[in-house]
Symmetry: C2
Subunit: 316 residues, 2 copies
């Protein structure tokens, strides 16, 4: 029953790093790497490759920069077939920081972009592909993309870009199944030479459901995170995805242990998941930043006022 | 864009009562009734109509019995177009306890049944319909129903039963979208004279997604609960469902207030929601009772051992 082409990418540390400024300690990251390796997960994304000229290592943890030396310390001594991935944001990377793939523990680089920056993203992807990396393009804020611009973007990717896969990224957790189906079908239709992926956010408890919807319509690159960890409402829970996929190479048990031992205690320290202000920004198709600000304030449970502040905003 | 025929039923107090032996106090239930009334919800189900010969009022709260006098105290002085519903289990009701609809604050009676008890359910429904109630049949544990028996059951309902709607009940939170689609289409196909409904459980964070899937395939009776309250993993969150439906008669704001004021404090006292042992029973298509026992023990976070105990069970 399983589809061999499906690749699962764990981005627990990368997306979770958006909550704590990429400051997970080495021991924790190694525990995650060990568990996803034992579980048979195809890729693990640890963080971003950001320029230290733009961001200070005093303000951010190691996984904002993902230097090869630090990554070596993560994988050292752990048996694994899981490939390491890092993410790059358009305009935030110094390509000189990225060594040729043959000298790096990183196997894949994913370029995150908005539709409007697609030319820059293609330049970066082709540069990293030339250096020997596997590459993908992750189109963020897809729920806000205008249909004609998205079409043009996808055609350009098919023609000019070396990426092996293109992801639909539901940054705002705003997609329902019907829109997911529409977008995945469109991408599959245009991107004849590439795989299609999905990265879903869980604002409306639909991250897993939308991932299944994407699978039904032939998306083969699937992002998930342990216990759904990730910014704001978090992501598609890896344990649910592994429970759904029938490929015998996956084993859910190391992930269950990891949640018991590491993620239940972690949840006492940082907040993510189904929280009403994030549900509201998902319903309204908005960036979660206003909700994140609310959660840091003494009005954190004032849902009605928050909702009314968003729907009352004058947009004319 | 909205579908006028859709009816939303709030079963917060009824399904939530399975956590606390139906012992919500009068003030709390009135707050819920007030909020769902203001929100424009079509029905509110408060509890079960169980025989006091079988269950002792010393062990259970009021909403295990739903006497008309108690229901009058809930609705008194609150302006509302929301109709009250009670649930009845096959073999647990004394039909003599149910007065004619014209003398009762209850407008709808829903009969919960397994496929095997469908003859008894039909008898009860027709009896209550004769007494003047709106009626439904709720087929529980649908993920375990054998296809030929379910077909026969649905044909019998279409031919012999007065119920206005038949619900697919995913008691174990085991359904994915494709099976939901299959079951709703089958029910719609056979039940030409009735509406079809869905009651989903949230073990795998799919209660809302499966409810949307059911809506896509023309289910019009939708169960939900405030903040997803309900036994074990809980149910489809009412606030998400109202956010999705486009019918202008619904207003999400009273539900947001209710969560702020009543459900955030309640969550400190009783447990429900996305909890790994419930996810495991959902993945394995099992009743949550073993997971509920685990959560009451000192092994509550031992997920791997729990998982292995379930997959190791000898079923030959």
């Amino acid at each position: 029953m399983f589809r061999e082409k499906i690749k699962v990418l764990d981005c627990t540390i990368r997306d979770g790093g958006l909550i704590n400024n990429h400051d997970f300690d080495m021991r924790f990251v190694r525990e995650v790497y060990k568990a996803v390796s034992e579980a048979g997960v195809d890729y693990m994304e640890i963080g971003y490759k950001n320029s230290k000229k733009l961001f200070s290592p005093k303000e951010y943890g190691k996984w904002k920069f993902c230097e090869d030396d630090d990554l070596h310390k993560i994988i050292e001594g752990i048996e694994s077939n899981t490939k390491l991935s890092v993410m790059v944001d358009v305009d935030r990377v110094d390509v000189e920081d990225v060594s040729p793939a043959k000298n790096s523990p990183v196997k894949m680089i994913r370029v995150a972009t908005y539709v409007k920056d697609i030319d820059k993203a293609i330049y970066l992807v082709n540069h990293f592909a030339d250096k020997g990396y596997e590459t993908t393009v992750n189109i963020m804020a897809i729920s806000k993309a205008l249909d004609n611009e998205l079409n043009e973007c996808l055609h350009q990717l098919e023609k000019e870009c070396a990426a092996q896969a293109v992801y639909i990224v539901d940054s705002y957790g705003a997609l329902y199944q019907e829109t997911t189906e529409f977008l995945i079908k469109k991408a599959k239709d245009i991107l004849k030479s590439k795989e299609v992926g999905i990265h879903a956010h869980n604002n409306q408890q639909l991250a897993f459901g939308n991932t299944i919807e994407a699978i039904i319509h032939d998306a083969n690159y699937l992002d998930a995170t342990v216990f759904g960890l990730g910014r704001a409402a978090g992501n598609c829970p890896l344990e649910l995805l592994l429970g759904f996929l029938k490929n015998p190479k996956f084993d859910i048990r190391p992930i269950l242990d990891l949640i018991s031992n590491e993620f239940i205690p972690l949840r006492e320290k940082i907040e993510w998941g189904y929280i009403i202000p994030y549900a509201i920004t998902g319903i309204l198709d908005e960036h979660p930043r206003a909700a994140m600000a609310l959660r840091g304030s003494d009005k954190k449970e004032n849902y009605r006022e928050f909702y009314e502040s968003l729907i009352g905003a004058d947009e004319e």
